[in-house]
């Protein structure tokens, strides 16, 4: 009964009645949250079995569900539930930031905890207290957490940095791809080679630091190739460029697998072998006696830390010297008589070994003081080492050696950039976004409270009037002096003032909440440039694969999108671009025969329109022939011939979005996931977007994606149907019309009206989604209000009872709690506290 004692402490603050009310709310809310947890845990189980990747969103929603339950439970004093959910929260947190990997063992612990939680919940339902023994489950969780701590104290450090390594390396990989694409187009650009070298060097460094050996090895080989190009000025041919592209892809694979703790998907041994072959060719061809700049710099650093004064001597020698090793020895001999030599590279053995014809360099690091303890004289050293075969000598003294010039330059450049941006963990931003959303809702609650307060205020005005009246009336046996006092006690003016201030403050709060929310959302907005640039690489690869000349033209790279949307756009866009390249753009001969330029173009553009983002993927290829689609659809049995006959051209084109449809007879190397536009459409719909097709046979095709700007806030049209309020996303609303009963006629049992030459099907919401049938269904109203909605292709008329108006609706993660409710994507809270259900026009239209 110890739990009860704790609860009773809390109960001192709230009355029994209040507790009962809060408990009721709690039970309802948590029912939903528990279901979420259950569902997500089942998904986890499946993921573990199939050795897949756990989605960040799933972990996130489990975390938040546990968190919410904890919060609500703590109000009521359900301590067991609080404690249990707290520990569950801890584990989920660690999984979220990738410090823990959800394996079978951890899953079992988590699931058992959930079972216990469920039991406690049931108990609470029955007895209004959460009696139960949570000791075992908590202990198990703590064990997991501790095990993690004790096991990986050394890898802990790595874990901390792995995320940073991953993020930075991905950025470097993107930069590398861009630079290499530039180089491929214009091989004269020396800066590009320097950049490529620098990027590879950085990747090599950080990989080495975190002991990611494969990445270190591959980047080292890449560095060799780039260094060769850099120092000799030679141009890299396509063989090398392809190898570099393959190598950077490998590094991406390695970084991803290191971060997500998943196995590699590519065969790195093969690529490493190829790189090594190329390295050998370089070695044989030319100045293989590579001065390893790394070694020199490392030694300089070492010597400097030992407080030695050093001199760096670089000598350039003729390539046609017969006895190069001998020359090296002569130089070494002469120098060592006067100065102690710390390093010579390349060594005499290396000079002797290979037979090369190019001019080469030897570097000495020696003591700045002579053996007689004099200071080195640059003149003397030059005279000493100026022998037959030496074409030039550079001498640098200590201070300049500590940081190579280029590094210094980079440092200052970096510092300048760092002032204006900082990297923020996107989880932190998510948290802020959630909080700002809650702030908006709180503000709505404030408004509501204010409204009620004003009502009371009005009532109290009544009271004041009555008192005044009474005062004026002279009633015997009534003590007027009491009334006098009342006036002073009940300062109506004061209350009015307070209410006015409250009003203003709530307004300000509202403005601020909105601004905070907008501000936070802005932080999540990043330019679409990132993925557009990646597509350049994709198009380059595909055009090589298919042996077609294709160029990607982009517009609107600066358009900013929420990061989540950009992440989910990646696959569909890649898919569409591949399709355009593969099926859209014809091969060279066909194009030339058709009078088109040999080079095909794929256009990719992004722009803001109102509350949405418009992204267009277009090509100047052969277009989609709706007759072919027609035939293919029928032959594949995707649609019956009768139905197909009735379809308009647009409708037929839209058939390509149906699953099982594909006029391509073979999968042409597309990434092995779902083939077909149906997958694309599904992915776009999942971010509440729509896809439109525009095509002309012979000219080309254009896909237009419209995606609402954020997932968290939408502009919606609020309507009343029956007893409920529904929010319809503005993108889906075409228009609002009024129809007379006699305009309505029946087709196939469906009510239809004629709308400017088209037939518009009408739907009654209760027929489509799970909602109450309106009471007076048979009542014939004169004029019906219809909201015409679209899913991008079809249009349908939704019969409504009343129109509330346009509003900004915050969709909270409540939407997940509803699981798969047909036709509803989420819910929101109106200012008056009413719940508005957010309609999913796509699903509704599907039902017709």
């Amino acid at each position: 009964m110890t739990e009860n004692n704790n609860s009773s402490n809390n109960n001192k603050l709230i009355s029994e009645n209040d507790r009962r009310e809060m408990l009721a709310d709690f039970l309802i809310d948590c029912e939903v949250l528990l279901k979420t947890l259950n569902d997500k845990l089942l998904i986890c189980e499946k993921t573990i079995c199939s050795k897949g990747l756990l989605a960040d969103e799933d972990v996130d929603s489990m975390f938040r569900a546990a968190h919410s339950i904890k919060g609500a439970a703590s109000f009521i004093g359900l301590d067991n539930i609080v404690k249990l959910t707290h520990e569950m929260e801890n584990i989920l947190q660690k999984i979220k930031i990738k410090q823990l990997v959800l394996d079978e063992n951890i899953f079992n612990v988590l699931f058992k905890a959930f079972d216990k939680l469920d039991a406690l919940f049931t108990r609470t339902k029955e007895t209004s207290f959460d009696d139960g023994d949570i000791e075992k489950e908590v202990k198990d969780i703590l064990n997991v957490l501790e095990l993690k701590n004790s096991n990986s104290n050394t890898t802990d450090n790595n874990e901390k940095y792995i995320q940073q390594y991953y993020v930075e390396t991905i950025q470097n990989i993107d930069d590398f791809n861009n630079q290499l694409l530039n180089y491929e187009k214009n091989k004269d650009n020396k800066n590009v080679i320097d950049n490529l070298f620098r990027i590879t060097h950085t990747i090599k460094g950080s990989s080495g630091l975190l002991k990611i050996h494969d990445a270190h090895k591959v980047s080292h080989s890449m560095e060799n190739i780039l260094n060769y190009a850099r120092t000799t000025g030679k141009i890299l041919d396509n063989l090398y460029i392809s190898a570099l592209f393959a190598a950077i892809d490998i590094i991406k694979d390695i970084a991803t697998s290191a971060y997500y703790k998943k196995p590699l998907t590519s065969n790195i041994a093969k690529i490493i072998e190829e790189l090594e072959k190329l390295n050998l060719i370089i070695d044989d061809n030319t100045n293989s006696v590579d001065i390893s700049n790394d070694i020199v710099e490392k030694r300089i650093a070492e010597l400097t830390s030992e407080n030695k004064d050093i001199v760096k001597i670089s000598l350039q020698l003729e390539g046609n010297l017969e006895l190069k090793g001998m020359k090296g020895m002569l130089l070494q001999e002469k120098l060592s008589r006067i100065h102690e030599i710390f390093l010579m590279t390349p060594t005499i053995e290396m000079l002797d070994k290979k037979d090369f014809k190019n001019d080469f360099t030897i570097i000495f690091l020696c003591n700045a003081h002579t053996k007689e303890n004099d200071k080195a004289s640059v003149e003397e050293i030059k005279n000493l080492l100026n022998i037959d075969g030496v074409t030039s000598i550079q001498i640098e003294k200590n201070n300049n050696l500590n940081q190579p010039y280029s590094q210094q330059q980079q440092q200052t450049q970096h510092n300048q950039i760092e002032i204006s941006t900082i990297k923020v963990d996107s989880n932190k931003i998510d948290t802020l976004l959630n909080l700002s959303g809650e702030l908006v809702i709180l503000r709505a609650k404030f408004s509501q409270l204010l409204f009620r307060l004003k009502e009371e205020h009005l009532k109290s005005k009544e009271l004041v009037n009555i008192i005044d009246d009474l005062k004026n009336k002279n009633i015997k046996s009534f003590d007027h002096s009491k009334l006098d006092g009342l006036d002073k006690k009940f300062d109506f003016k004061n209350i009015t003032q307070i209410i006015n201030t409250f009003d203003e403050t709530t307004s300000s709060l509202g403005k601020m909440a909105s601004e905070i929310q907008t501000g936070v959302m802005q932080t999540r907005m990043i330019p679409i440039e990132g993925i557009f640039n990646r597509f350049k690489r994709t198009v380059r690869d595909i055009s090589h694969e298919l042996n077609k000349k294709i160029e990607l033209v982009t517009k609107g790279e600066e358009t900013e999108l929420d990061k989540k949307i950009i992440d989910s756009l990646g696959e569909p866009l890649t898919h569409m671009i591949r399709n355009a390249a593969d099926h859209g753009i014809e091969d060279r001969e066909t194009r030339i025969a058709a009078g088109k330029p040999e080079q095909g173009t794929i256009y990719l553009s992004a722009s803001h329109k109102g509350n949405s983002i418009c992204i267009e993927v277009a090509d100047d290829g052969k277009g989609i022939d709706h007759q072919k689609v027609f035939k293919s659809a029928i032959s594949k049995g995707v649609i019956s011939e009768e139905k197909a006959q009735m379809m308009s051209k647009e409708d037929i084109l839209n058939l390509i979005f149906l699953p099982g449809f594909s006029t391509a007879n073979k999968v042409t190397g597309i990434s092995g996931r779902g083939v077909g536009m149906d997958v694309v459409k599904t992915m776009i719909n999942s971010v509440n977007g729509i896809v439109e097709i525009n095509t002309e046979v012979g000219s080309g095709t254009s896909f237009l994606l419209k995606i609402p700007l954020t997932l968290a806030i939408i502009q919606a049209l609020n309507v009343v149907v029956g007893a409920e309020v529904y929010s319809i996303p503005i993108e889906s609303v075409v228009e609002i019309i009024k129809v007379h009963p006699f305009d309505i006629y029946s087709v196939d049992g469906n009510e239809t009206v004629k709308l400017r030459e088209h037939a518009l099907s009408l739907i009654e919401l209760y027929k489509v989604i799970h909602t109450k049938k309106p009471i007076d269904i048979n009542k014939k109203i004169d004029v019906k209000s219809i909201v015409v909605i679209t899913d991008g292709q079809k249009q349908v008329g939704l019969v409504i009872d009343d129109l509330i108006g346009k509003d900004e609706m915050v969709i909270k993660s409540l939407s997940e709690h509803f699981g798969h409710v047909k036709g509803i994507t989420g819910a929101s809270i109106l200012g008056d506290g009413r719940i508005a259900l957010i309609l999913d026009p796509l699903n509704i239209i599907k039902e017709i």
Binding site: L323, M326, M329, E333, I387, D388, T391
Partner: protein, 124 residues
């Protein structure tokens, strides 16, 4: 006063070739030697600014002559003349303190630069 050079080589033709190559540089050939012993003698006598020393010579070879001359004058400038395969001798010469070396068969321009550099008359 122009700088002085001693040519030591057992093949007269080589001595002749070198003379033809060096004279245009403005230096003076003060003596010739046909073997190592003679080279040492002539060095003592003429104290030339530079010696060109063939490695393989009868009586005393170039290495021994080099060694003796350096004992006489540690700052002596001696340019070894080596055939391509005489690496061991050359290594020894370098370790003892030869100033530089050229490899037979030589090119006129190269010999001239090597001699000028050895005499400090060719700056980079």
């Amino acid at each position: 006063m122009s700088k002085s050079i001693l040519i030591a080589d057992d093949a007269p033709i080589i001595r002749l070739m070198l003379k033809d190559i060096i004279t245009p540089l403005g230096y003076q050939i003060v003596a010739e030697a046909a073997n190592g012993e003679e080279a040492i003698q002539k060095y003592k006598e003429f104290k030339p600014d530079l010696v060109t020393m063939d490695i393989i010579m009868p009586i005393k070879n170039g290495i021994e002559a080099l060694s003796e001359i350096l004992k006489l004058n540690p700052k002596a400038k001696v340019l070894m003349i080596s055939a391509i395969d005489q690496k061991e001798y050359l290594t020894k010469a370098i370790k003892i303190g030869a100033t530089d070396y050229i490899v037979k068969p030589f090119e006129e321009a190269k010999v001239q630069i090597a001699i000028k550099k050895a005499l400090g008359d060719h700056k980079l």
